[in-house]
Symmetry: C2
Subunit: 340 residues, 2 copies
């Protein structure tokens, strides 16, 4: 898997080598099973401990450094925030995988399958503690560090609350579209807005501009999420670059499905399909077309464009150099169409 994913704007790839060096420094060099497990999760080791490269796109740390540069500051000043947000992201993935019993991430066995569930809980906790050590344990201005910490920790709290809701929704049949969107904003949006705001704060940007950048990131994240829910049901694999396994086949409760469950006729079709041991092409197609009939596709597209417009309005409210504004457009365009 290549480190530099195709289609990612240059502003989000230019610091990847430096990010990787700093991430490696944040996981202590101590030779223990726990540290080795952390290296596996970060994509630097395979399950046998041999060196490998499976790092993923590191979008969140790249956004943090971009936040610093967007306010005319230095990416170096924001590196502790970049490292922290990527370690937090990985902590949340490791715990989510235990909770959801996910078998694979990026075509590799998930941590709990290799180290056991109990150790995967420890591993997530360890990455969490290393994240804050990276943010607050080094040199830097104490007031900026604390401001960035508060942004990140609020995002983490929202992310955890979103994950709680997500699990709670599994046993509920009456989740409203509003509840679903609030959960999704916490679970996915919070950790996309936070890095931009942290980067701006760590680089000495003013708090108001930093907060606007954070809101921009969150809106872009929500636009992405709504669009991703659309593509997960109706996108074809050529267009999405994803495998043909769609959200309906995986019985996921996405925005269109939640919307459908509130419509009695569509709900009957969904429930009928989701209680089957496995869905065939015919059932998947029946659910997708039923959802289209009640306008669930339109709902997703509308949600995506509303968030994209909100993001554009936030950007328009800021005084920015032309090249920085262009970078924001490129990053926004990337999110509207692809995944993070």
């Amino acid at each position: 898997m290549p480190t530099l994913a195709a289609g990612v704007p240059e502003v989000l790839t230019r610091h990847l080598p430096a990010i990787e060096v700093s991430l490696r420094a944040a996981i202590t060099s101590e030779n223990s099973e726990l540290v080795s497990a952390a290296r596996y999760v970060m994509g630097w080791e395979d399950a046998s401990g041999a060196s490998t490269r499976n790092e993923g796109k590191r979008i969140r740390p790249a956004l943090c450094l971009f936040g610093a540069e967007a306010v005319g500051g230095s990416a170096t000043d924001a590196m502790p925030g970049a490292v922290a947000v990527e370690l937090i992201h990985n902590f949340s993935l490791v715990h989510d995988e235990v909770q959801d019993r996910d078998a694979e991430r990026h075509h590799r066995p998930t941590a709990w399958r290799i180290f056991g569930e109990g150790q995967a809980i420890n591993l997530g906790d360890y990455l969490y503690s290393r994240a804050f050590a990276a943010l607050l344990g080094g040199q830097g201005k104490a007031d900026r560090q604390i401001a960035a910490f508060n942004v990140l920790n609020r995002a983490v709290s929202r992310m955890i609350a979103g994950q709680w809701e997500d699990i709670a929704f599994e046993t509920r049949d009456d989740v409203t579209v509003e509840e679903y969107l609030a959960m999704s904003a916490g679970k996915t949006g919070a950790l996309l807005g936070a890095p931009l705001e942290m980067g701006a704060l760590l680089a000495g940007g003013n708090a108001e501009t930093a907060a606007t950048l954070g809101r921009w990131g969150a809106e872009v994240g929500l636009a992405f999420q709504a669009w991703d829910d659309y593509l997960g049901t109706w996108g074809d694999s050529d267009e999405t670059g994803k495998s043909t396994t769609n959200d309906i086949a995986r019985k996921k409760k996405t925005l269109p499905v939640v919307y459908g469950l509130a419509h009695p006729a569509a709900a009957r079709v969904i429930r009928g399909a989701y209680t089957l041991p496995a869905l065939g092409e015919r059932e998947i197609e029946a659910v997708a077309s039923t959802l289209r009939e009640i306008g669930a596709d339109e709902l997703c597209r509308r949600a995506a464009s509303q968030h994209a417009e909100a993001a554009d309005a936030l950007l328009a409210s800021l005084t920015l150099p032309a090249d920085v504004r262009e970078h924001f457009r490129a990053v926004g365009g990337y999110f509207y169409q692809r995944g993070a």
Copy 2:
């Protein structure tokens, strides 16, 4: 269950009402299932959400405030640290209970049994994030906050590494006494030393004195642990105040058992007993007397007194008012004989 446990020195009980008020303020008043679950874990609600009082001794936050007073500072300045360390302690308990499949804590069902394993993982993560929000999210001097954060986060990292080792030891038969003591220092000692050091730092004490207080707390914690391992095997229930269920009956790998496994004859007796579905009085007695024959009881007592002496030497190295020194003696005496 009374809030003020019998035998706890006055210096560790005087601020309990204020600690409880601050802990409650640290868990947001937001009305959600997640927050309600946190209130259950903290002992303020029962499983139905009704108000109750099951708070435990709050030893760690009390140590933090004592650390502030010991350097002539104000307990109020150290309250964010007190709240943080208690929330961290509870986060670690909630995750440990999932890992160890513990059914009860303080005679109540553990969190995972009520909310499910996945949500218990979220709940621990939530308490973790509230802990650092309490420490760094409020007013206070930024440099002192960061110094206290670094002490706590280092302790958390050590605690997590200790928990990793503890789980790894379950499947190993060749754990050395040194490995066991290192695990125990991380898992139990780290979070007893840290609050004293944090309290001293938050109240403006100098870093060297604060570090010495932290080392004193860690030594006292290790003395307690060794003594607890002794009592768990050879103490009678009148003496310990614990139930008659001892560590051998529960097949725990304590210091004497780890020591015994390194002696072939004792190892045979232990393995024979620990492979039984349940141990009767006769098997428990056989293991206990075999361990006594090879001097495992003496090993525990020696470890306990060595740590107690190390703690005394640290205390002697500090210039302290007579009343403060007396308080340290009372706290030390409490730990050498009871649990935390």
